[in-house]
């Protein structure tokens, strides 16, 4: 149910970003970019025991009037950002978590692919499929 899903690498450059095309994509790109600050902030705050998935999920980064931004960071500092339309019936936190989990799983699969060089844009069809599945729901 996301309107925009982004995967950002450790060095904060995007590996994958996709938005619902009907909207102004630039706006979402900008939103994701600004959300990185919040992510960094949260990462530094949650410095204690890493690795717990709960801490991997950063939760709602910040809401605006139109949408909400959720963040998730992996152990390797790869960040996932999901932008959800606020007008949508507010998704439960667990749904967002499950979305992140799916993303993380498919990202892991992409990483396992020996033909994928870390740092390259993600061009995996499977990954795209999963992302589409998440976004199509938005309609």
């Amino acid at each position: 149910m996301a309107v925009c899903i982004a995967v950002i690498a450790k060095e904060n450059y995007p590996l994958f970003i996709r938005s619902v095309p009907t909207q102004n994509e630039l706006k979402f790109h900008y939103t994701v970019h600004t959300s990185l600050d919040v992510v960094e902030e949260k990462i530094s705050a949650v410095g204690k025991s890493l690795g717990d998935q709960r801490e991997l999920y950063l939760g709602l980064l910040y809401p605006t009037e139109d949408y909400k931004v959720y963040g998730y960071v992996t152990n390797s500092k790869v960040k996932f950002v999901i932008v959800v339309d606020s007008s949508n019936t507010s998704l439960r936190d667990n749904e967002i978590r499950s979305m992140f989990r799916k993303l993380h799983n498919s990202f892991t699969d992409v990483m396992c692919n020996p033909f994928y060089n870390p740092g390259d844009p993600i061009q995996s069809k499977a990954f795209n499929g999963i992302v589409s599945g998440m976004m199509v729901q938005t309609g």
Partner: protein, 796 residues
């Protein structure tokens, strides 16, 4: 020899046949053996064959040159059409159907022929099976999917990712991106003489031709296709099996290779090893089809061995990457192939996965688009599932099922597709079930989400997050795939949770309940406390157990004790302080006799001291605090008691105590009095005073009234304990010390307060007295001075 003019179709066809016969790969001469076999296959009477041979000049030459061969073929065609064999007729006969060669009971061939017939609008091609001599037994299957066979061959050709394309027959028209040349890509030696290769080529050719069957446009194509045999790289053959873009109606290949229709689809029918047949067979099921024939599989396995000798082992991703990079496919496609074939997503390829990947690469090389999902036939069999870990079908098995007999010289052992299929299908089904299970990851996640909406109450207590890191989930998925266990993994951790949760629930419940309890008897001793809590907790835990349990996983519930009922943290500490204070308190308590005599003011101090001591003594906890409301109530009592005290302290105290007792009284009467919070002070004093028993009974009933049975129980325990001992206050206090923690707190606080007050009072008093003393001393000095002055100088 007369010059021979051949139509294009004929030319192609004959070329293929020549290639087929060119076992020596001389490109010039067809081996006699093959030729004769071919002629025999023409189903012509032997004398006719001889005649043909003679006519074509081979007899003279002693061998079949290309021209002789062609002539012979034409003569065969003539003969087959019933025309008299004449050299003149070679060129005169128009519309001569291509010679037909029957190989045998090859269903495939028959079908091929049929296909060709259908396809061939021109009718040039006799309906009879244009048999390819070395027709693989399984060909029949392929026929249905001529396409498949096409593919097969191509694929097979691709096996060798050799850099140099030595495709024997590569028709320029060949549209498929992977022309047979590409076959050579693999490392295999593509020596022209490699029968396998040729077979591959031929097979590919056959594939092509089969492919082209339906398209009627390709006249020669189908016919040649029939030949689908081995194709040596005859240079002259211009018409390699072209991968026509036409999609045979029967073909169910997913992505039809865009290769353009090739007019010249001459399958190089090169007599080759059975591999070609196999290849054909392999190519036939591409999709039904994406099946891997045994030959292919064997090839794959060989390749696998070069990387990983252990067939049950894995090929690491890096090695696989290098290997497949040789195929010169774009990385993106290789990546996609990897995604498809690495079923368990472990970054390594098992034999099955490797075969699937290889197969896909071959397909891609041949121009077939990669599927979006891994085809069933390529799904790796789970090693765990399959008893027969060996993916490859033993050729023997295959053969037995093979309906068609392969000419002995051709195919040593052609595992039948049929045989391979059912097994693969089964495994596929199994695999599919697993793939369904793989979706359990979803269920796993959903499980978490289910856990989320836990009982808020319990959640509040210990909001423990569920530990399910993605990798863990992944592993679990894998496990599920592998073992097929259903949520065993997830359930185990989950199962662990409920007990923890119940504990926590208990705690919370107990705590809350205790808070409600006026009597802190339960607190007096950990046991009692627990016991108090347990029943209560049980009720609560039952309600919210499971969902909460799930949620509340991680941290074990903290000791229940330090909760609502205790305002102070560690009961033990308090007890210790209490005991410490009880020391002085005790003597005080022992001297409770004083209090009554002491003026009202000190009374409070004494009362403070007493409670301190008493609390320590009683330790029964109940007295204090736990229940603030009681405290308030008791304070009232205390007032009464205080008022009563002066009158008849001991007794009054006792009574007051008794009255106040309600609370838990530990057991000893004296101690019991201490219990109440405020009033505890007095009570303690009285309890202290009362050594034993008399008070006990009265408090008991009082207690019961106020307390719950649970509390009474511990109280009774203490009671009895105290009674039994008539223990010294401290002694009684000791057992009750733990219990009295909570109560002690209040009592201690109260006593402390009182003590402080007493202290201040005394200090004031002291200072005053000292001041007075000083004054007096000064006066005395002054008076003495005066006296001396006044005394007459007596000493004078």
């Amino acid at each position: 020899m007369e010059s021979l003019t051949l139509s294009d179709v004929e030319q192609k066809y004959y070329s293929d046949l020549f290639v087929y016969c060119d076992t020596d790969n001389t490109k010039k001469v067809a081996s006699n053996g093959r030729v004769l076999d071919l002629f025999r296959a023409a189903q012509l009477p032997s004398e006719v064959v001889l005649q043909i041979t003679e006519l074509c000049g081979a007899t003279r030459l002693g061998h079949f040159g290309r021209s002789q061969f062609y002539i012979a073929l034409k003569l065969i065609a003539i003969a087959q059409s019933g025309l008299p064999l004449r050299v003149e007729s070679l060129n005169s006969v128009k519309d001569l159907p291509l010679p037909r060669f029957v190989v045998g009971k090859n269903e495939a061939e028959a079908r091929h022929a049929a296909l060709y017939q259908d396809a061939e609008s021109q009718g040039l091609y006799p309906p009879s099976s244009m048999a390819v001599i070395p027709r693989p037994p399984g060909r029949g299957h392929q026929n249905k999917k001529g396409f498949n066979s096409h593919k097969r061959l191509d694929l097979f050709c691709l096996y060798d990712f050799q850099p140099e394309p030595t495709s024997p027959v590569i028709s320029p028209h060949q549209s498929p991106p992977t022309s047979p040349h590409s076959w050579r890509k693999h490392k295999r030696q593509h020596s022209g003489g490699n029968p396998d290769r040729q077979a591959v080529g031929a097979a590919a050719g056959a594939v092509w031709t089969q492919f082209r069957e339906p398209p009627a446009a390709q006249g020669p194509g189908p016919v040649e296709g029939i030949w689908a045999s081995h194709s040596p790289p005859p240079p002259s053959q211009e018409s390699w099996v072209s991968f026509t873009a036409d999609t045979p109606p029967s073909s169910t290949l997913p992505a039809m290779h865009p290769s353009s229709v090739q007019e010249n689809t001459t399958i190089r029918t090169v007599a080759s090893a059975s591999t070609t047949n196999e290849i054909q067979r392999q190519s036939s099921s591409y999709d039904d089809a994406w099946k891997i024939t045994d030959e292919q599989r064997q090839y794959y396995i060989n390749q696998f061995k070069t990387i990983q000798p252990d067939l049950t082992g894995f090929i690491p991703g890096s090695a696989a990457k290098e290997f497949f990079t040789k195929s010169k496919l774009p990385i993106l496609e290789l990546s996609h192939i990897w995604e498809l074939s690495d079923f368990d997503k472990d970054g390594a390829l098992t034999l099955d996965e490797f075969c699937a990947a290889f197969h896909l690469v071959v397909a891609r090389k041949n121009g077939y688009d990669l599927p979006e999902k891994l085809p069933e036939s390529l799904m790796p069999k789970l090693i765990d599932l399959d008893d027969s870990a060996v993916p490859e079908q033993p050729p023997d098995v295959a053969y037995s099922a093979s309906p068609v007999e392969v000419t002995p010289n051709k195919s040593p052992s052609m595992p039948s597709l049929n045989q391979a299929w059912p097994e693969m299908n089964q495994s596929n089904e199994q695999w599919e079930t697993f793939s369904e299970r793989s979706s359990s990851s979803q269920t796993l996640t959903q499980f978490d989400s289910n856990i989320a909406p836990a009982d808020p109450d319990t959640a509040i207590v210990h909001p423990v997050p569920i530990r399910m890191t993605p990798s863990k989930i992944h592993m679990q998925e894998m496990e599920l795939k592998r073992t097929g266990s259903d949520h065993n993994h997830p359930t185990s951790p989950l199962l662990v949770k409920p007990p923890e949760l119940s504990e926590e629930a208990k705690l919370t419940a107990s705590m809350k309940f205790v808070a409600a309890n006026t009597v802190g008897d339960g607190y007096s001793s950990s046991d009692s406390f627990t016991s108090d809590q347990e029943p209560i907790a049980r009720q609560r835990s039952q309600s919210g157990a499971s969902p909460e349990a799930l949620k509340v996983v991680a941290p074990p519930p903290p000791p229940p004790r330090p909760q609502p009922s205790h305002s102070r943290s560690s009961s033990l500490d308090m007890n210790r302080t209490f005991t410490a204070s009880s020391g002085p308190g005790q003597p005080q308590s022992s001297t409770t006799a004083f209090p009554p005599a002491v003026p009202p003011r000190p009374l409070p101090t004494q009362a403070e001291a007493v409670p301190a001591g008493g609390a320590a003594l009683t330790t029964t906890s109940p007295q204090q605090i736990p229940q603030q409301p009681n405290f308030a109530d008791f304070s009232q009592f205390q007032a009464l008691a205080a008022s009563e005290q002066p009158s008849s302290l001991p007794e009054v105290d006792k009574h007051s105590e008794a009255g106040q007792v309600e609370k838990i009284s530990e057991g000893a009467g004296p101690l019991r009095t201490v219990k109440s919070d405020g009033p505890a002070d007095e009570r303690t004093s009285t309890t202290a005073m009362c050594s034993s028993g008399p008070l006990a009974p009265p408090p008991k009933p009082v207690r019961r009234r106020l307390k719950s049975e649970d509390e009474l129980r511990p109280e009774d325990e203490q009671h009895g304990a105290q009674k039994s001992g008539i223990i010294a206050a401290p002694q009684t206090a000791q057992p009750s010390i733990p219990r009295s923690v909570g109560k002690d707190k209040k009592a201690i606080q109260a006593s402390i307060r009182r003590n402080k007050e007493t202290n201040t009072v005394l200090a004031r008093l002291n200072s005053e007295l000292q001041q007075q003393l000083k004054d007096l001393l000064e006066e005395r000095i002054s008076l003495e001075v005066q006296l001396e002055q006044l005394r007459p100088f007596s000493h004078l």
